[in-house]
């Protein structure tokens, strides 16, 4: 397989092959945790870290593991990494850890991670594999944050609520109340709202793609893809 350039890896992960918007993988944590920006960001970063580390390790061992047992080896590697991250979060972001609950250990079963290990890391050198993990994770985190923002604004009328859980007590000023005395729109917080909002985000991406396709060549400059993602 031809080696991909850094540029192609970045564009794949952030936009054209985005984990959440195009592959539609890892929906369970995506839908369950994205009720606020802070929750989404936290889970996104944890997933990002897991992706980078697991891709790098899988790439390192790719020539020493026989194909018959590769999946179970990948799963054990991912599980070990997630356990480390889970314990670290428990120690340093305890309240956030309590909120995210079962979804931190469940990163192990996030199909995007095993998917990247199988589809990319097991066939590429360490550096491209780690980069792929980084950009796939960034793309996933971006969608989690966007979805979290959409649901938080619609559902509670705030942005960055409980920012102190992640950035310490000094970050409370980050919380923005957009609408004073908002009654709350429960649907956006509930799981059906997550499905509807994710559907809207995917639709938005498709609209942007089809607009760019119909426009002449300059608009298809890859820089636009990265800034849009």
């Amino acid at each position: 397989m031809a080696e991909k350039t850094h540029h192609e890896i970045a564009r794949d992960g952030l936009w054209t092959n985005n984990v959440a918007l195009v592959q539609v993988l890892g929906l369970c944590p995506l839908l369950a945790v994205s009720s606020t920006v802070v929750n989404g960001l936290a889970l996104g970063l944890a997933t990002l870290l897991t992706l980078v580390l697991s891709n790098a390790v899988v790439s390192m061992i790719r020539n020493y593991v026989t194909p018959e047992i590769r999946i179970s080896v990948f799963v054990m590697i991912i599980a070990a990494i997630v356990t480390v991250i889970e314990l670290a979060m428990n120690a340093y972001f305890h309240e956030l850890y309590l909120i995210l609950g079962i979804f931190i250990p469940l990163i192990v079963t996030n199909c995007s991670i095993l998917g990247r290990a199988e589809a990319f890391a097991s066939k590429h050198a360490v550096v491209p594999a780690a980069l792929d993990g980084l950009y796939m994770g960034l793309g996933f985190t971006a969608v989690l944050v966007a979805l979290g923002a959409l649901r938080e604004v619609l559902g509670k009328g705030t942005l960055f609520s409980q920012a102190q859980l992640m950035f310490g007590d000094n970050a409370q000023w980050l919380t923005i109340t957009l609408v004073e005395d908002y009654r709350g729109f429960l649907l956006a917080i509930l799981p059906p709202g997550a499905f509807i909002c994710l559907g809207l985000l995917i639709a938005l991406k498709n609209v942007i793609d089809s607009r760019r396709k119909t426009k002449p060549a300059p608009a298809a400059h890859p820089a636009a893809a990265e800034s849009a993602a």
């Binding site: 729109f185 429960l186 649907l187 059906p192 559907g199």
Partner: protein
């Protein structure tokens, strides 16, 4: 000589989507008149506001989707959705509740699925369930029938209540509202009162079911029967739905009349009649084969009774309709009529 023989069918019925929709609206009018008579002008204001919002959303969505405005705007389907949802909302519900509901019905439930004829779920019921789940407090604030309210709101007071949230005097919406009959029976059963005690103790109950509600439902029944006579709707769904609801209610009423309300009360309370004739019969989202319609209607009737009696909500027509909408393609698949000459 050249004989021009057109292919069959040779007899056409000049029924367009517009005629069907207008007749459905016309059939709703008796019920709406009685409803407005008993509950005040808020009903009519809500309906007019809902129609305006529905037409605006419809036009915006048609424009966004690049569809021609004229044929779709004049087909009347948005108006029917608006009227059905507005009738299902409490008479003094604030304007933004209607706005959000109608916008959700037209934009999400109808146009995101491809517009009229492509929506798998009844838009009015999708919006109703969405509002019920999102705004549980606003959705249960039913004003009492004007006969029970002291003093009833006049037109200006109603307008102020709906659009500004101002209520006359020092009253709040909580003081102006009361539980619906279905709600009351459910709450009192929870307090270990028998159905008969509840019915006798509260002024909210009339001769057949809830005071006022019984007449509204009878008026909707009259409109529905007119639709049947005009062959706008088939008999299978309403008969199967009301029959199944009555059968379930009869069984449990005969076993234990202390804890289960009578079949007549179930038929004439809540949205049973409205749902049977106007909502479940939606040609887009209902089952289409004759046998399938019987199963579809009976399913709604049974589910409505189950949700009313053992569920968390006082009425279950909207949930039942959506659940059976989901089952409609499967029902159609298994109830295809036999083609003549084949097994």
């Amino acid at each position: 000589m050249k004989l021009r023989t057109p292919i069959s069918p040779h007899i056409h019925i000049r029924t367009t989507v517009t005629t069907v929709m207008l007749r459905v609206v016309a059939a709703l009018i008796p019920g709406i008149v009685v409803y407005a008579w008993l509950f005040g002008a808020g009903v009519v204001i809500n309906i007019l506001f809902a129609i305006a919002v529905a037409l605006t959303c419809e036009a915006l969505m048609l424009k966004a989707r690049g569809r021609p405005l004229r044929p779709f705007m004049s087909d009347g389907s948005a108006v029917v959705t608006a009227v059905l949802l507005a009738v299902a909302l409490p008479p003094l519900s604030p304007w933004w509740l209607t706005l959000i509901g109608i916008a959700f019905a037209i934009v999400v439930a109808k146009h995101l699925f491809g517009g009229l004829g492509h929506n798998p779920f009844n838009p009015a019921m999708v919006a109703y369930v969405m509002l019920l789940i999102s705004f549980p407090r606003e959705m249960v604030l039913w004003a009492p029938p004007t006969a029970l309210a002291e003093p009833p709101l006049d037109l200006m007071e109603t307008l102020r209540a709906i659009f500004l949230g101002h209520y006359p005097g020092a009253l709040s919406i909580d003081a102006l509202s009361m539980a619906t009959p279905l709600d009351q029976v459910k709450t009192q059963l929870g307090l270990e009162q028998s159905v008969a005690q509840t019915l006798a103790a509260s002024p909210a109950f009339g001769i057949l079911a809830g005071r006022g509600w019984e007449w509204i439902n009878l008026a909707f029944l009259a409109g529905g029967v007119w639709l049947l006579r005009k062959r706008i709707i088939g008999w299978q769904i309403p008969v199967a739905m009301l029959g199944a609801l009555a059968a379930m209610a009869t069984i449990f009423y005969v076993i234990d009349p202390e804890h289960y309300a009578s079949p007549l009360f179930h038929l004439l309370s809540g949205a049973a009649i409205l749902g049977a004739f106007f909502i479940a019969t939606d040609p887009v989202t209902a089952a289409t084969t004759p046998r399938g319609r019987l199963i579809f209607g009976a399913g709604i009737g049974i589910l409505t009774y189950v949700i009313r009696t053992w569920g968390g909500y006082p009425d279950g027509v909207a949930f039942a309709v959506l659940l059976m909408n989901m089952a409609a393609p499967t029902i159609d698949y298994y109830t295809q009529p036999r083609v003549y000459g084949r097994k």
